[in-house]
């Protein structure tokens, strides 16, 4: 089925406590190559029929208005899954 992917990340300037907790766990496990972890969200929207400019635009709109909260998050990607 045609699918549109939406990716949402916490705003870069904000503390991401969940990511920080994972980074702490990685350090404890000896994975010292990684200095930081940030956790975001990936949504997969299954589309009725083919993906068009209109469905992409609609996905962009709901990404900004519902799937993310623009006060604390950024929509980092909206694209058709290949």
């Amino acid at each position: 089925m045609p699918t549109i992917v939406v990716e949402v990340m916490p705003k870069a300037e904000l503390l991401d406590p969940a990511g920080k907790a994972v980074a702490g766990a990685l350090a404890r496990l000896g994975h010292t190559s990684f200095t930081n972890v940030r956790i975001g969200k990936r949504f997969e929207l299954t589309v009725e029929g083919p993906v068009t400019d209109a469905t992409l635009a609609e996905a962009q709109k709901i990404a900004e208005e519902i799937l993310s909260n623009q006060v604390i998050e950024d929509v980092t990607a909206v694209f058709e899954a290949k």
């Binding site: 904000l14 406590p17 519902i66 909260n69 006060v71």
Partner: protein
């Protein structure tokens, strides 16, 4: 006076809020998230809990539930609305109050009897407090860190819209120690701590005189009666 308490899937403190309303001397009215009917109530409480399991973001799905269309419309016309904890999260998701609430900076759920200071005693829900009064009510949340842009914070502080501020410790990393806000009109108030859990002797926070005797939260529900009588 009839005060509606809306139950969402995952609400936990709706019955506590109803009991607080009764103890304050008003009539609680149970409202359901799936309706488009406020049943002519004189004020509304959005209770605490974990509506929709906190999926998507805390309060986000609830803020789009059917009854919220009526709540947002009524709030914009001046109907008093109080959001407690998850209800506060719904108010920011519905853009009735500015900013956002994110996971506590220390990453842990926190439950404590919290001292907060009443910074604005002119809102519909705070008139029975003295300005600057310090009260103790329970706090219990995992995602109570208040954040807003520098510009929004400046405006909130400049316009006196910070309703409550954490004292002693900042329990969740909230910017400017903000525990609760009011809108400019004073009818919409949201806060993370739970006034409805400090309304009856024997079931509230400890005080200097007796265990569990704290009832500082009751004045929030009494304020709305005073405010409505005045207006």
């Amino acid at each position: 006076m009839r005060i509606g308490v809306i139950t969402f899937p995952g609400s936990l403190d709706d019955r506590d809020a109803s009991r607080a309303i009764s103890l304050a001397g008003a009539e609680p009215v149970a409202l359901w998230h799936g309706e488009h009917d406020l049943h002519n109530v004189d004020a509304i409480v959005l209770p605490g809990g974990f509506s929709y399991g906190d999926y998507l973001r805390c309060g986000a799905i609830a803020s789009h539930s059917p009854i919220m269309a009526e709540v947002i419309d009524a709030a914009n016309k001046g109907l008093p609305v109080l959001g407690i904890c998850n209800g506060f999260q719904m108010l920011v998701e519905a853009h009735l109050l500015p900013g956002g609430l994110i996971r506590n900076d220390h990453g842990k759920f926190v439950r404590r009897d919290q001292v907060i200071r009443v910074e604005n005693n002119t809102s519909a829900w705070t008139t029975d407090f003295a300005a600057g009064e310090e009260i103790v009510i329970p706090l219990k949340n995992g995602e109570g860190g208040y954040i807003a842009s520098d510009e929004t914070l400046k405006q909130l502080e400049g316009d006196g819209l910070v309703a409550f501020r954490y004292m002693g410790v900042n329990p969740n990393g909230s910017m400017n120690d903000i525990a609760g806000l009011t809108n400019a009109r004073g009818n919409v108030v949201g806060l993370m701590p739970h006034p409805e859990h400090a309304v009856e002797p024997g079931f509230g926070p400890d005080t200097a005189t007796r265990m569990q005797s704290g009832t500082d939260g009751l004045a929030i529900f009494q304020s709305i009666l005073s405010a409505t009588v005045l207006s």
